[in-house]
Amino acid sequence: MKQRLVIIGAGMASGRVIEHLVETDPDAFDITLFNAEARGNYNRIMLSPVLSGEKTYEEIVTHDSDWYAAQGVTCRFGESVSGIDPTMKVVSGQSGHLPYDKLIIATGSAPFIIPVPGKDLPGVVTYRDLDDTNAMISAAGKGGKAVVIGGGLLGLEAAAGLAERGMEVTVVHLMGHLMERQLDEAAGYLLRKDLEGRGISIRTQASTKAIIGAGRAEAVLLEDGETLPADLVVMAVGIRPETRLATDAGLTVARGIEVNAQMQTSDPDIFAVGECVEFDGQLFGLVAPLYDQAKVLARSLLEGVDAFIAKDTATKLKVTGCDLFSAGDFAEGEGREDIVLRDPARGIYKRLVIEGDRLIGAVMYGDTADGNWFFQLIKDGTDIDEMRETLIFGPAFQGGDTADPLSAVAALPREAEICGCNGICKGTITDAIAGGATDLAAIKAATKASASCGTCTGLVEQVLQVTLGDDFVMPTAQPICPCCDLTHEDIRLLIKSQELKSKEAVWQELGWKTRNGCHICRPAVNFYLLADWPLEYQDDPQSRFVNERKHANIQKDGTFSVVPRMWGGITNPAELRAIADAADKYDVPTVKVTGGQRIDLLGVKGEDLPYIWADLNKAGLVSGHAYSKGLRTVKTCVGTDHCRFGTQDSTGLGIKLEQALWGSWTPHKVKLGVSGCPRNCAEATCKDVGIICVDSGYQVSVAGAAGMDVKETERLCDVGTEQEAIDVTIAFVQLYREHAKYLDRAYKWVAKVGLDWVQARIADPEERARLIAAFELSQSIYRKDPWAEHAKTAERYQPLANLTLEAAE
C-alpha cells in the first residue's frame, strides 16, 4: 500500500522535494500538500522582478495545477495547518484532520516585525509572498513616498522595485553600511552610491522609533527625532524560521526546527526542510542549500542513504544594474591576507581574503563576472599559491598589471572643477589641450588654471597626462604615502570637487591601495574631511595621533602633560589654586610655565587624565589644546591696562581672538600673538598670526615661525577696528584650513601659494564673509571642551583588565 505523505507548505524547498520524489519513484507516496497561500509553488526569489515590473506572476510559477494533477498530488491551497499530533499521526487543517505516515514540515519563515508602536497600521507591509508584492504594486500605483525599514537584501530589492514604479523611496538602516552581513564597508559604499544614483535616499545608523499616522501609516519616526513622511512602509528587517507548529507538537526546536543530516526531526516520522530548519546550529536563508536539503530528504524518504552538508553560499542582489557578489568569509582575521583592487573610474571594487594557500572569501562590486569562479575556488578549497599574484584579475588573466593611478582623474566629468581659484573645469582644460596646449605653462596662459594659488597644479598635470598620454612627461610629485598615488593637494581638491564625504568614499574614489590607510594618510584625510564637510563628516578619533585622541601631550616615558586654557594668558587666584590642588592630588612631578603663557602639568599618568580634567573643569578651566593641530595659544602683552606705551587693549583682543578660535582643527598647530605697541613684548612677529596694535589701528601679519625655521611674519593688512582685526584673522585661519596640506605650518603654506594670493582672497569682501561663515559653521560643531566630554568616559582610560594576580601564579 502507498504510504501517506503530508507536506505542510508549498514553497521552494518542498517543491523540489516533490519533484525528486515523483521523478525517482512516482508510486511510493500518496501526497497531500497544504499551503497557507492560496496558490502552489512559485519562484519566490523572482518576486523582486515582479515588483519592479520586469516579470509577471505567471512567468515565475514553477508548478501549475496541471502539474500537481498529473503527479497525483492532492492540493489543499489556501488552507493553513493549525496543529500536528505526533502520537495520533494526524495534522489538523481548517477543513478537518488528515492522517499521515510521513510528514514534512516546510513552512519557511515569517518576516520579523520590529515591535514599534504603529507596526499594525494599514499601509505597513512586509515582503515575503505574492500578496505582499501585490500590495506594494498597488500602493506604488498611487505614487507618493515609501520608507523601507531594513537595508539588507530584501529591503533593497523592495526599495529598488518601488523606485522603479515611481515612488520616492527612503531606506532606513540600523547599521553603518548597507547589507553589512554580505558586504564590507567599501562595497557597501559603492552600493549606496548606485542606489542614491537612482534617487533612493539612504539613512544608515538610523533606528526606527515608531510608525505614526491616524488610521493608516503616514510617517516613520526615527530615534533621533526625525520624521520621514511615508504613504507606504515596508518592513524588511529579517526573517524568523516558522516553527510554531513544530514547537506545539513537542518537536525539538532551537532557533529553527532541529534536524539531523537526513532532515529528520526529533520525531522519526516527521521531517523538515527549508528555511524553517536548523542544522548543526545553522539557519538557511538562501535557496541553494535548501535545494541540497530537498534532494537529501527525498532520498531519505525513499530509503536511500544521503547526508546533508551545509556549504558556503554566495549572495547577489537582484537589482538591475547593481552588480554585487559576496561569498565565504571576508572578515579580517589573524593570519588572513587581503588583496584589494579598486578601479574608481569604473566603480569597481574587488576584495579577496586568503588564508594560507586558500581563498576563503570574496566581495565584489561593479564587476562580478568572475564571481562564480572565485566561489568555486572557495568551495573547492583550491590551492591558489601559484596564482596569488594575478588571482584578483580573474581566470582570464595571467600576466600582471596594476590599476591605473590616473583613473580617478580620467573619470572626472567635463564639469568637474579643477582650479578652484579661477573656477576652471576639466572641460576647459581639455579644450585648451585640443587647441594645442601641451604643458602646464600653456594651460596657465590659455585658461588661468593653476595660475593662482597653484595647489591644483598636480591635477592639471594629470589632466594633461590623461589627455596627451605619452606625449606628456609628468613631473614627479610626492604622493601622500604609499597607500595612494595622489598628492595631498590633489586629494584635497578631489574631496571637494567629487564631494567625498567619508573615508570610505575617499578610499574608493581615489584608488587607495590599502583597506583603511595608514598612520600617515588617515590623520590627513580625517582632517580634510572634517574641514570640508563639518556637518556631514563624523570625526574619527582612531585616525588621530595619540595626543589628540587622549587630549594631552604624550611624553617620552608614556606619561602625559596637561595644560588648561588661560584665555589671553590671564588667570586668577582661584584658577591657580585649582591647578595647585590638582598638581598635589595627582602627584604631578613638574609644573612649568610654557612659552605661550600657560601652565603645564607634566608627568600625569594616562589613567588619571579624566579625573584631573574633571577637577580642573570644576574650577572653570577647559582644555588648552596644547596637544592639537588646532588653535594653541594667543600670547598677549599687558597693553593699555597697565603699560605706559600701550595704544590698544592688546590683552582684551587676545582674549577675544582666543574665544573665537578655540577648538578649531587646523592643518598644523596655530599660535597667535598680540602686542600693544611696536615694542612687541608678546613677540607677535614670529607667530602664525601676529597683531601689533598701533595708534591708527591694527597691523595684522601672518606666516611667522620660531621653531625649526625662524621667520618673521609678513604683513597681511592694516585695519582700523578691533572687529576687523578679528575678522581678518578668522578669514586667514579658515583659508589655511581649506587649502593647506596637513602638517604644513601656515608659513610653509603661504610660501607655496604666495602672500599676494592670500591678500587678494582676504581683501575680497565676499570671500572674506564666506570664509568667516564657513569657520563659524565648523565651530558650531567642533568648538567643545574635549575634557568635559572625556571625563564622562573615564573607564576607557583604565586598563581593560588587571591580571597582576593571575600572571603571578
Binding site: N516, G558, A808
Partner: protein, 109 residues
C-alpha cells in the same frame, strides 16, 4: 593553554587599543576588524613607546613616539631591526580571550 576572559570586544574601540596590567608589565590589546584582536607587549623596543596609544591600520600598529610600524601577526618592525612579543588572543561570542599561560611564561621568552 589557559584561555581567560578579559572583557568584551566592544570595550576596545574599532581600530583602537586598550592595555591590560600583568605582574610582568602591560600588554596591549588591539582591535582591527569587527572581530579581530591581537595581543602584544605594550612597550616599543625602540625607546619604550606605549604601543596601545598608537594608530592601528590594517594588521599593523604605528608607535606613537617615533613611528615604528609593527606587524601585529609576527611582531616584526617594518624596515627596522626589532620586534615585539605577541601573545595568543581570540574573540569568542563577543568576549576577548587571552592565553594566561603564555602571558605568565613570557619573562623566559
Amino acid at each position: 593553554m589557559n584561555w581567560i576572559d578579559i572583557g568584551g570586544i566592544d570595550e576596545i574601540p574599532l581600530r583602537g587599543a586598550r592595555k591590560i596590567k600583568t605582574a610582568l608589565g602591560c600588554v596591549a590589546l588591539f582591535r582591527t576588524g569587527e572581530a579581530e584582536v591581537f595581543a602584544t607587549t605594550d612597550s616599543c623596543p625602540h625607546k619604550g613607546g606605549p604601543l596601545s596609544e598608537g594608530i592601528v591600520h590594517g594588521q599593523s600598529v604605528t608607535c606613537p613616539l617615533h613611528n615604528w610600524v609593527f606587524d601585529l601577526n609576527t611582531g616584526q618592525a617594518q624596515g627596522e631591526e626589532g620586534a615585539i612579543s605577541t601573545y595568543p588572543a581570540r574573540v569568542e561570542a563577543g568576549r576577548i580571550l587571552i592565553d594566561a599561560t603564555k602571558l605568565a611564561s613570557r619573562s623566559a621568552a
